[in-house]
Each structure stands twice: as structure tokens, then as C-alpha cells.
């Protein structure tokens, strides 16, 4: 792995982040929006892991930041799915356009 510069890993994670962002912009289904959000969180984790491995391989702070991000993402996904299921029960749809009571 001495032959891949750090820049290439950062470009891969940037591409992953913007793929997730494209999903956020174009999807109208709450579950697929959640999936795009997971992609974006993963791209941030790749960044932290790459910086940790390339710049400070002896230290562990990058691993810890990624670990805590993974844990909080798990909590967030669980709550989001509980909200989605409750919304489905109330509106019989998981489309964000249908849940507009709080709009305006």
C-alpha cells in the first residue's frame, strides 16, 4: 500500500459522499433517503481511517472517531426506521411529499 497516495483515497471518499448526496437530492422515498445518508456517513469514515493510517499510524484517534461515528449512525438508523414505520402507519405512505402537515 506504499504505492497509493493519500489523495486517491480521499478522491474515492469524495465520490462516495457526492453519490450519497445525489441520492438525497433525487429520492422521495424515506427509506432510500436513509440509505443515501448511510453512504455519506461511510465516506466520512473512510476519510478518518485513511488519515489515521497514513499520517499517524501509531495513534488510535482515527479509529476511535470512526467507531463512534458507526455507533451513532446505528442509533440514528434505528430511530429513523421507527419514525418511518410510524409515518407509514399514519399516512400509509413513506413518501416525503405526503407528510406535509408541518409545511408552511
Amino acid at each position: 500500500m506504499q504505492h497509493v497516495p493519500l489523495l486517491h483515497i480521499l478522491i474515492v471518499s469524495t465520490a462516495l459522499f457526492f453519490i450519497g448526496m445525489y441520492g438525497m437530492f433525487t429520492r422521495r422515498n424515506l427509506i432510500t433517503i436513509l440509505m443515501s445518508l448511510e453512504l455519506m456517513l461511510n465516506s466520512v469514515n473512510i476519510n478518518l481511517a485513511a488519515f489515521q493510517r497514513y499520517l499517524y499510524p501509531q495513534q488510535t484517534d482515527g479509529i476511535f472517531l470512526s467507531l463512534f461515528i458507526i455507533i451513532i449512525a446505528a442509533a440514528e438508523a434505528a430511530i429513523a426506521i421507527a419514525i418511518i414505520i410510524h409515518l407509514y402507519r399514519t399516512y400509509h405512505s413513506v413518501d416525503v411529499e405526503d407528510a406535509s402537515e408541518l409545511k408552511y
Binding site: 493519500l6 457526492f18 422515498n29 489515521q52 501509531q58 476511535f64 446505528a74 442509533a75 434505528a78
Partner: protein, 178 residues
């Protein structure tokens, strides 16, 4: 001639990005959940390639084993798997693509300007024993406080999930919308 590890990295990166694109553009929600699973496995492969084995194991256990299964369950519970997703207006796709591509190019340009030409060193990565000791250490540089905070957060989110998803008795549901 590229060395084998570089070829492995570019293969993993291509797999990761292609499956992520398929997951974001697929019209059937169940299939895009499966593509998301492969994409998260690709992220775990990148962690393995970076020799961060603990992170890769956690990624597989939590994301692939937990979150994707949760997402697939919610797809089934909300009957979204049978119908295809509606297609959006052309203009919306155009502006989304414009924003995403310009943002990507701008970020890559900034990274390029800064450099980041570092090569990885041969130094040994901190092993799992060090990580575990530091996780529960209360000395300087230890992570005992965030560890406890995260455990409280997980407990709170579990209670919140039950409170949100609990089915209310019929007398109370008349107050809710529709």
C-alpha cells in the same frame, strides 16, 4: 507495472463506487438495499486494505449485519418493495446532477491544490489490544467518557424507538392525524 496492492485498491474502489451508484439510482427499493449491502462490504474491504482490522470487523457487524437488515425489514414492513419508485422530473435530475458534479469537482480541486502526496509508512498499526485499553482508560488520551456517553445514547435511542413505534390504544389514535 502496478504492484498488486495498488491494483487491489483500485478494484475495491471501483466496486464500491459502482455498487453505490446502482444503490442510489435503482428503481426497485429492495434491489437498491442489496446494492447498499455490497457497497458497505466494499467500505469494509477498504478498511482491511488499510490494515485497520478492528474497524473492518465493526463495519461488517454493525452495518452489514445490523443496519442493512433493519432497512430490509422496514422495506418489507412498509410494502415499498412491490411498487417501483416513481421517476422524477427531468429538470430535477438535471439540477441534482449539476450540484453534485460541481461540488465533486470543487472538492477534488481543493484536495489537489493542498497536495496530500503522503505515502503510507511501514510503521506497525496500533493493534486491537491498544485500542481496547485506550477505550476504557481514564488517563489523558483515554476514551472512557465518550464510551459511557455512547452507551447512554444507545439506551436512550432504544427507549425512543420503543416509544415511537409503539402502537397506541384505539382511544388515543383518534387524536392523531387522519
Amino acid at each position: 507495472m502496478m504492484p498488486a496492492s495498488a491494483i487491489a485498491f483500485y478494484l475495491i474502489a471501483a466496486f464500491l463506487l459502482i455498487t453505490a451508484l446502482l444503490s442510489v439510482t435503482g428503481r426497485q427499493i429492495f434491489r437498491s438495499a442489496i446494492w447498499l449491502l455490497f457497497s458497505l462490504l466494499g467500505v469494509a474491504a477498504i478498511y482491511f486494505w488499510l490494515e485497520l482490522n478492528l474497524l473492518a470487523a465493526v463495519q461488517i457487524v454493525v452495518y452489514v449485519g445490523g443496519i442493512v437488515v433493519l432497512i430490509i425489514f422496514s422495506v418489507f414492513l412498509t410494502r415499498g418493495s412491490v411498487q417501483e419508485l416513481p421517476t422524477l422530473k427531468k429538470s430535477r435530475h438535471f439540477f441534482a446532477l449539476l450540484a453534485v458534479i460541481s461540488g465533486f469537482l470543487f472538492t477534488v480541486w481543493c484536495l489537489w491544490l493542498y497536495g496530500y502526496r503522503q505515502k503510507a509508512t511501514d510503521a506497525v498499526v496500533a493493534d486491537i489490544r491498544t485500542v481496547g485499553k485506550q477505550m476504557l482508560s481514564i488517563e489523558a488520551g483515554g476514551y472512557a467518557l465518550p464510551f459511557e456517553m455512547v452507551s447512554i445514547l444507545l439506551l436512550a435511542s432504544m427507549v425512543a424507538c420503543i416509544a415511537i413505534a409503539m402502537k397506541l390504544p384505539d382511544s388515543k389514535t383518534t387524536n392523531t392525524l387522519k
